[in-house]
């Protein structure tokens, strides 16, 4: 398994990754998130030995990736779908990777069928769309049936059916006990599949926790309550440790207490409850909370005098 210890990567003008510690858990999909320039791709490149850390260590099953005898069996990676020799056909590309890894050529045909490129297996990849190249990259990552699958922006360029297929694939891989690390800007996609979330911003580790834990900690998650005696209920809930805000005359927003406990307290004190709804923030909201003020590249409105463009 991948273990990252005190990893720092500095370039002449910036620190891309600053002293991060991570462990990629097996059997779960880990979403690797962060704004542009947060250090996600740099971290992935360091894991694969493509970039050297300034300090710290990354090990795969206790060894640096470059020391592994059968690296493609440990980690299957797709970092850049355009990093292929477009003069080759998909079959030739995968055959080269299978040859290096000493893998049976039957696996090449199996994967070509799996990624849906069997019909174009003997066509030059120069004619392929970005989405098709993504599929080749995904096939390449899976060639060694690796213990860990690592993908950088794998949803980019895929059509709707492709996105659905990849989502299912990644979930299936975790069912086989494999670790999956996926970076993506498409937060809705990550939300669909991720069990854990790692968030980087400006090279710092902002969060490394399960999705449930993250939602529980978020200030955007709350329980909305309507009752016949809202002010009294508010007092009692606060006395029991909740944080309660009155947003409308008869509507409370409760944080730091779950709906079940609120219901029990209301019942025990004889209040009528008209609404008791859990509001879970989307990953996009959670992400925005976490990286607020920590982005390097932030756009501005073209017309500052107009609040909205439309």
């Amino acid at each position: 398994m991948i273990q990252i210890m005190n990893l720092t990567k500095k370039y002449a003008d910036k620190t891309a990754v600053n002293n991060i510690n991570l462990y990629v858990h097996p059997g779960v999909v880990t979403g690797f998130l962060g704004p542009n320039g947060a250090g996600k791709t740099t971290t992935m490149r360091i894991i694969l030995g493509l970039a050297a850390p300034t300090s710290g260590r990354v090990t795969v099953d206790g060894k640096p990736y470059a020391s592994l005898e059968q690296p493609l069996i440990k980690i299957g990676a797709m970092l850049d779908a355009s990093a292929i020799d477009v003069r080759l056909t998909p079959r030739q590309h995968l055959t080269i990777l299978a040859t290096v890894a000493g893998i049976n050529k039957g696996r090449v045909d199996e994967l070509l069928a799996f990624v849906g490129l069997q019909k174009v297996a003997n066509k030059k990849m120069s004619e392929f769309s970005f989405g098709m190249r993504q599929r080749i990259g995904i096939a390449g990552a899976l060639i060694g049936d690796p213990e860990t699958v690592m993908m950088d922006e794998p949803f980019n360029g895929l059509d709707v059916q492709g996105i659905h297929w990849l989502r299912t694939l990644l979930k299936d891989l975790t069912k086989q006990g494999k670790a999956v690390l996926v970076s993506s800007h498409l937060l809705s996609e990550v939300q669909e599949i991720a069990d854990r979330i790692i968030v980087l911003a400006r090279g710092e580790l902002i969060a490394d926790m399960s999705m449930d834990e993250m939602q529980a900690r978020s200030s955007s998650s709350y329980v909305q309550v309507q009752s016949d005696n809202i002010s009294e209920l508010r007092k009692i809930l606060i006395a029991n440790g909740a944080q309660a805000n009155l947003v409308e005359p008869e509507v409370l927003r409760i944080r730091k207490m779950n709906a079940r406990r609120i219901g029990d307290i209301a019942f025990a004190n004889g209040f009528r409850i008209y609404e008791l709804v859990n509001h879970q923030p989307s990953l996009e909201q959670l992400f925005s909370e976490l990286v607020e003020g920590k982005t390097d590249f932030e756009g501005t409105n073209l017309n500052p005098n107009k609040k909205e463009l439309i």
Binding site: Y65, A66, P71, D85, R87, T95
Partner: protein, 254 residues
């Protein structure tokens, strides 16, 4: 390592362009050898019939020089493309030990150039003997010819290895081509320096070692180093260039 070499061979042989380029390089090298031998009137101001038998063979064998240059271009383009197209990222995830990756590539291209060198040398040698027999002249003795051919055959793998090293060091096709060319033409540059410097410098150059191996540099000539020393000089050039290339390749991020 064998798997890595096999994969490298497939990288060379899979693209259609390579499958076309290599035979064309062999054929054009052989044809160029013939052209050199039939144009001595223009290039050396002597008719073919006026040339000594060894000079006829030598003119044909210039085809090996041409094949060396064509192979250098091919190798620099192949490796340079991996760096410029970032395909090296994909390949290094499969072979992350960079020294092994370099060695597999160097060995593959070395063997390829050796094979091309042998084919071109044998055919050009045969052409030379054929011309001599067609002009009713005595063929060159086997021992003399074989030493010459063996020396010539050393040229493609040597300069191809320098090209591999230069391209890995610079990660750039153009530099990968220019650097071994500079080494190839160092004797011409050396001639610009005083005689004492030439005496020290020229015997250490690969061209001198190749000329010694092929028997073109004879005892008493400034280039002559002796067979063993010539061999050691070529090995040292390759080892030092490889060490520099591996150091550079390992040190920098991809």
């Amino acid at each position: 390592m064998i798997q890595a070499i096999r994969a490298e061979w497939r990288k060379v042989w899979f693209p259609k362009s390579s499958r076309l380029y290599l035979p064309i390089a062999v054929i054009s090298s052989i044809l160029t050898g013939l052209v050199f031998s039939f144009t001595t009137q223009i290039t050396q101001n002597r008719a073919l019939s006026e040339l000594k038998p060894m000079e006829v063979i030598s003119a044909n064998m210039l085809g090996v020089d041409v094949s060396t240059i064509l192979l250098m271009l091919f190798v620099a383009v192949q490796i340079g493309k991996e760096f410029q197209g970032k395909t090296i990222q994909t390949y290094l995830t499969a072979t992350p030990a960079r020294s092994r990756y370099f060695a597999a590539k160097a060995l593959t291209f070395c063997l390829l150039s050796l094979a091309v060198g042998i084919i071109v040398a044998l055919v050009t040698l045969f052409n030379g003997q054929l011309i001599l027999s067609a002009t009713h002249r005595q063929a060159v003795s086997a021992s003399e010819v074989w030493q010459f051919a063996a020396g010539c055959i050393a040229m493609p793998p040597f300069y191809v290895l320098l090209t591999v090293c230069a391209t890995f060091s610079s990660r750039n096709t153009a530099t990968g081509i220019v650097a071994p060319f500079v080494v190839m033409f160092l004797p011409a540059i050396a001639e610009l320096f005083p005689k004492t410097l030439q005496n020290t410098f020229i015997p250490t150059l690969p061209a001198s070692a190749i000329h010694t191996l092929s028997g073109m540099a004879q005892k008493g000539s400034i280039e002559y180093t002796g067979i063993l020393a010539a061999f050691i000089i070529l090995v040292l050039w390759v080892l030092l260039s490889s060490a520099l290339a591996i150091w550079n390749f390992r040190k920098k991020d991809i």
